[in-house]
Amino acid sequence: MKTERLDAWTSEGRRVAVWRSAPEDFAPDAPIVVMSPGFARRMRDVGSIALCLVGNGAIVYRFDSIDHIGLSDGDIRNFTLTGMRQSMIAAIELARATENRRGVRLVAMSLANLAAYQVAAEDKDIERIMALSGVVDGHRTITEVTGRDYLSMAREELPAILPVMGHDVDPVPLWTDSRETRCLSYERTIRSLKAISAPVANCVAEGDPWVDVGECTTAYTDGDGGERLVIKLPYSGHDLGRNPVAVMTILERMASLAIGNGPMHDADPQAVLMPTFDAVLEARIAERQQDFSEQRAAKTEGSPAV
Amino acid sequence: MNQSEEGKPAPRLKLPFIVGGKRYVAPGEQQVLRTEDRCEVILPAFTADVKSKIDGLDRNLLRDVPIQDIIAFLNRVGRNWRSSEYSRRRLFIAQLQMVLGYSEEAAEHEADWIGVLFTSHARMLDLLDIELGSRFILDEWVRSDEAMVHAYPVGRVTHVLPGNVPSSTVISLLRALLTKNISVLKVASGDPVTALSLALSLIELDASHPVTRAVTVAYWPEDNELGAELIRSSDGVVAWGSAIAVQRAKERCGAEASFTPFGPKRSLALVGRGADPHKAALGVAHDASLYDQAACFSVQEVFVEGDLEPFLTELDAGLRRYESLLPPRKLSTDELAYLNGRRLDQEFAGGKLYATASRAAIFVAPADAQLDPPLEAPLQRTVIVRPVKDLVEALAHVDEGVQTVAVAPWDVIAEHRDELAKRRVSRIVELGLNNVFRIGGTHDGMRPLQRLVRYVSHEAPAREFPKGMVLPLDQTKILENKSFQDVVF
């Protein structure tokens, strides 16, 4: 897998760091996949998925969201879902310009799933969406994660700093964004899903405290603009990337969905070539090195971060 | 875990080297050999001083000593060893127990063997006759057809000795003395006792006797460069023991020096349909109990034709009987753990544990058991019994690693002897006699005395008609007349 660093720009001119990974040789109709890690995860954290997709012939674009951890502009303190959505659009447009094709598939982790639905609702060239632990009710999930329903509070009740998954987040931008765009609401998800005619799938762990299988099933029933598939994982926890043995099983299924062309529920995981143990390990360490050296380069350059 | 794990200090035994029949006690550096958790043996370091003293010994010391004097001296030594009152013998028995973990009975048996071997003067002469062609050949020119032949010692023979089988040391030394060589006995770390006891018993009898002065006993670790040099400069090397030890000795042996390898061998038994199960089992029990199977002639596997159960019952009883006749060597914790591991390995490979005595064990290996190389034999009286429909099946398990094939009943051997020989075994004996090397027999395919002498021939003069010719040998004339084909018939 060859990975190169590219820059994409949001409509507001902010830089989104993108890694493009491609097979040495790829078909002219190789699937183009744009992949977004979830909240508090970097694009290098989804390296094994990228490796697997590339190994099966896809061209993969990954990005770190703006106002988030990672290599893009801004700090996670100012995180908003809109920022994530804008970053995704920037990455999609970069992929289209670079590959000179319109059709793009999305792979989204966790909270990025909401952004993926919102983008696809307005972009008919999104061919399919695959999520892992994809959030469907942002409001409820954030309430679960933070322990309180901050989004329903009055602005003056908000704390100055909200610790979320090990990061200090200023709740105000998130709160404001949620009020203005309803982007975290379940209703918005249903609206988006109704507008998406492309196939949509979500792998959800049965024991995930943040994403409920039932909730997802309901959302897919209500928002049945096209083929909808829920894959239930008999595991616990939300951070499925932690368990490499589970990841291998999931990867196989996800890859078959993300690169296939027929109906998702007919996809054949047996057809997927799995990366070797060593390749996953090496990619992981190599990407950490790449991430660190890009961070160092950004520091010396003087990042135009806000 | 036994008491020694709790840090009880092992008993210490301080031993000298013997250089040219003299005790060598180094004041300074020492070597410490730990024989398992039984005891610590302290020996002088193998220094340049020791080596130069050994190098200074006269390699022809025994050359002109008549064989009868050598044998007579050995006989006197042996008579001492035959006496249960002999203090050196008593010390040897105590040390075999302390250092090697021998039972008192087995140690006594070893001491008896030393006595028997040293006093077997008639056998020694027979041995010279058989192996060298004449018992006079080391003393004088002996007529050998158209030549007179005299055998001389090669000079200095270094013996790389094994641990655990004291009689090998005795035999190795006797062969070298019988051929008038001077010997450097390089002891194994597991048995520094036997060689020293022999040398000291010579000194005690007569410190100035040339036979006494022909014996050196030392120890050096495998990687010792001085030791390696000593081997390189020897005229003959006799190497016993593990494949690695023998291989190393061979690599160090000089190009013109004689090399006599007694590398690792195993032995097996064939029990035919007509065998008396009681007698056959007792024979196996003996051959597998002596030296706790550490010897090359120790039976490890038994191929049994016909009814298995009566043989197994008798073998179990026989091994138990030998546990009281020759109680097994005391093993350290580590040796026991190792033994148990190897036995477990036999089970994993397909052996079925039939019975265990206090030490001995019997495994039955069905035909599909994967007891192939490199499965390691557990030894310590572990007998692997392989049932066969016909003894011919045993041939598939015979290769050049087999030294002795012990057979019962005796008459079945006629049928298999040639096949066994083709498969490179070196001895075929009756079951129960593995350790008895009969006069005239061979050792690992050799007549070892021949390797310890150099022959000089004094050949007939021209006036003596060569065999096949009826006139004196005048080569010039023959060439001139082009009559070579005519004169040789």
């Binding site: 598939l229 043995v245 999931i250 | 030894l379 690693g401």
Partner: protein
């Protein structure tokens, strides 16, 4: 709307990879979990490894015999020598990813064939927040820590298990390896540690004790003190190999290393136990006991009878490790140790192990051939 189900993850994986801190549970709870995990592994190997199944059959043990924690000792175990001579697999051969051997230069080596799952599980336990490490690695992450490896890099470690395992620590933080070919670049390693101590919160020096000892000699020889303080950590593993004669006892080692590297606390030095046949790291706690996670059953056997010994009695160390999928990791080991169940002096409940010494191998020096050197013609 379609719904599909993926195969469940096994219990062993959820324990190895999960967030669960078993140390928060009682000794009995851990024992029950151990029973379940090891029994499951036993059933797997019985079903998947014909050689092992037939061995167990000869031993007369079936999965049904393993009903209580006390029954775990009945699981038939293999001497490590089995792996020196034959391939013992519980997965199809094409699933094997790597074949590992022990380090060292002499003798026949064990070869352990590992598949992806087995290796993933090993990797999965090597994370700084795993209870396996107690709290030795608390606060370590890939941005604030660096590892100086007195060993070869993973790509250079070949099939040598110990080197490979140490190199896997790179998952936790960036690592520089200083054994190149057969040379240890001591000066470079020392320089790197000095540099890293300035830039990083935590610096780990990992390697076998004899190389750590060399490292300390290099520091002392350089004349310039190295201020390890509370930032430098030393993680040792493996034995003294062919430098056995230089072996220091643990107390002395800690003193020498602590002084040479000016460590604030000798507890910054920890040792890990592992061998090529074992798929788990047993990491030392503050009280120098090696904690045994619930997926490993450790006990000792009487060297004379090979019968299991009660808690606390020194004997031949034996393991049953449930994380090994590709080979039956039910081992009679090569060490003398004590295994204790209860609450360790460090306060953590569970099973701990204390090494006494390595067993000496064969001392056979007779002339009996013990390993057939020739192979049959047919």
């Amino acid at each position: 709307m379609f719904t599909q189900n993926l195969a469940p993850v096994s219990l062993i994986d959820s324990v190895v990879f999960g967030d669960h801190d078993w140390l928060e549970n009682s000794v009995e709870w851990q024992a029950d979990l151990r029973l379940e995990l090891v029994r499951e592994a036993f059933a797997h190997h019985l079903a998947s490894c014909p050689q092992y199944a037939s061995f167990a059959d000869r031993k007369g043990v079936t999965a049904e015999h393993i009903q209580t924690v006390d029954d775990l000792v009945r699981i038939p175990q293999l001497p490590t020598s089995v792996f020196k001579r034959q391939r013992v697999l519980s997965v199809p051969p094409d699933e094997i990813v790597m074949n590992f051997t022990s380090s060292g230069t002499s003798g026949t080596k064990s070869v352990i064939h590992r598949d992806g799952v087995t290796l993933h599980r090993l990797c999965g336990m090597m994370r700084s927040d795993s209870p396996l490490f107690g709290n030795y690695l608390d606060g370590m992450d890939e941005t604030n820590s660096t590892i100086i490896n007195l060993g070869p890099s993973r790509s250079d470690s070949g099939n040598v298990w110990f080197s490979y395992v140490m190199s896997l620590l790179e998952q936790m933080a960036p690592m520089q390896s200083y054994v190149v070919g057969s040379d240890l670049l001591l000066k470079e390693a020392v320089d790197d540690v000095r540099r890293s101590l300035v830039e990083m919160d935590k610096v780990f020096v990992v390697g076998p004790p004899f190389l750590v000892s060399d490292f300390c000699q290099e520091v002392i020889g350089a004349g310039a003190p190295l201020e390890g303080g509370d930032s430098l950590f030393v993680f040792t593993g493996g034995g003294w190999k062919n430098r056995e004669s230089e072996r220091m006892d643990r107390h002395e080692f800690n003193k020498v290393v602590g002084e040479a590297l000016s460590l604030a606390d000798p507890l910054q030095i920890r040792d890990v136990f592992n061998q090529v046949e074992l798929n788990t790291l047993l990491v030392e706690c503050e009280h120098h006991r090696k904690h045994v996670p619930p997926w490993v059953h450790a006990f000792t056997r009487d060297p004379v009878t090979f019968e299991p010994l009660p808690d606390g009695e020194a004997g031949v160390l034996c393991f049953s490790d449930a994380t090994a999928k590709s080979y039956p990791c039910f081992l009679v080991g090569d060490d003398v140790a004590r295994v204790l169940s209860g609450v360790c002096d460090c306060g953590r409940p569970g099973v701990t192990m204390e090494l006494v010494r390595r067993l000496r191998g064969s001392s056979h020096a007779g002339c009996a051939e013990t390993i057939r050197s020739t192979v049959q013609a047919d």
